[in-house]
């Protein structure tokens, strides 16, 4: 490392100080991320204080502090959904990114009967809102997310 300052980081690898500085100062660009230990994909538009609103076991909506603006969503139990439903489609299409619009639609197929039978407007609206956000922002996730996590 020469004279360059470096610190052993939480990942067990040496982290050049410049990297940690960048991670503090650089601009936030909205991107979907997979969190391995909690097995969820999360997308938020801004690095702000957010409020999480649980919709059901698969979907949580994320609002800004005013609670009137949807700024993101969290898809839970994502590994299983990917392995069972999305992986083969990605392989078939030979694409490197999972379109989260498709992921949300796929998840809705799991709960849709129940939602419709119960006339559960809140859940239906929530899935529509998440889908719309994913579509408008063209939210994708690398299909290598399990390796990267």
């Amino acid at each position: 490392m020469g004279t360059r300052s470096a610190t052993a980081n939480v990942f067990g690898d040496p982290m050049p100080e410049s990297t940690a500085v960048n991670q503090l100062y650089e601009r936030y660009d909205p991107v979907a991320a997979y969190y391995l230990e909690s097995d969820c994909v999360e997308y938020v538009k801004s690095d702000s204080i957010a409020i999480y609103d649980r919709i059901d076991e698969f979907l949580t909506l994320i609002f800004d502090e005013t609670r009137s603006n949807l700024i993101g969503f969290k898809l839970k139990g994502f590994k299983n959904i990917f392995e069972q439903r999305l992986k083969h489609i990605s392989q078939l299409r030979n694409i490197q990114f999972i379109d989260l619009v498709s992921a949300i639609e796929t998840i809705f197929t799991l709960v849709g009967d129940k939602v419709m039978a119960a006339h559960d407007e809140r859940r239906e609206k929530a899935y529509k809102a998440a889908r719309e956000l994913a579509s408008n922002d063209n939210v994708t996730l690398s299909s290598d997310f399990l390796k990267a996590a």
Binding site: Y25, V31, A33, S38, I49, Y52
Partner: protein
């Protein structure tokens, strides 16, 4: 400066016996992912509300000397503890080994790129709260310390009730209330 991504082990009341103290580790993956996508708010909140110090970043003393100071807490300030998330989680059908701590926090830390320290204190409404998810593990040793769980999430959620404020719909969303 890179210390801001190196969070220490934390103490917490045991899920099964609030009078006992256990040690948790904050998930490396959670820190790495947030750092990689430049998402600082959850990291700042981990420092303030689980480690009970402001994050070690340049010029943070501005906040410490300012009129609105963040609440510095640990999981020992939790007002409730639940077990189970009622969804598949790893190999578990209902996430039975997931513990959820509830913190009622009045002032937290947010990201502010216009501030010399990149952080700001933010007063929170009292009808929302912080939940901290911990995945219980078999004993992990770090030096001579036994770690019994990994902190995997910190989230602000809508609450119900007051003093304490608990997660909205907690009876349906979690397996059981431990204390």
């Amino acid at each position: 400066m890179s210390d801001w991504l190196t969070l220490p082990l934390i103490e917490a009341p045991a899920a099964t016996d609030r009078s006992k103290t256990v040690i948790y580790k904050i998930s490396d993956g959670f820190i790495r992912t947030n750092a990689n996508i430049r998402r600082r708010v959850p990291m700042f909140q981990l420092w303030a509300h689980l480690v009970s110090v402001v994050p070690p970043i340049n010029n943070i003393s501005i906040l410490e000397k300012g009129p609105l100071k963040p609440d510095l807490t640990t999981l020992k300030n939790s007002v409730a503890c639940f077990r189970g998330v009622k969804r598949p989680y790893d190999d578990e059908a209902h996430g039975e080994s997931v513990i959820i701590y509830v913190l009622n926090v009045g002032v937290t830390l947010g990201f502010d790129p216009t501030s010399p320290c990149m952080a700001k204190s933010v007063k929170l409404s009292t009808d929302a709260l912080l939940t901290i998810q911990v995945k219980r593990t078999g004993p992990l040793r770090e030096g001579d310390i036994d770690i019994v769980g990994i902190v995997t999430r910190i989230e602000r959620v809508i609450g119900e009730g007051s003093a304490p404020c608990l997660p909205y719909g907690y009876e349906e969303r979690y397996g059981e209330r431990l204390w």
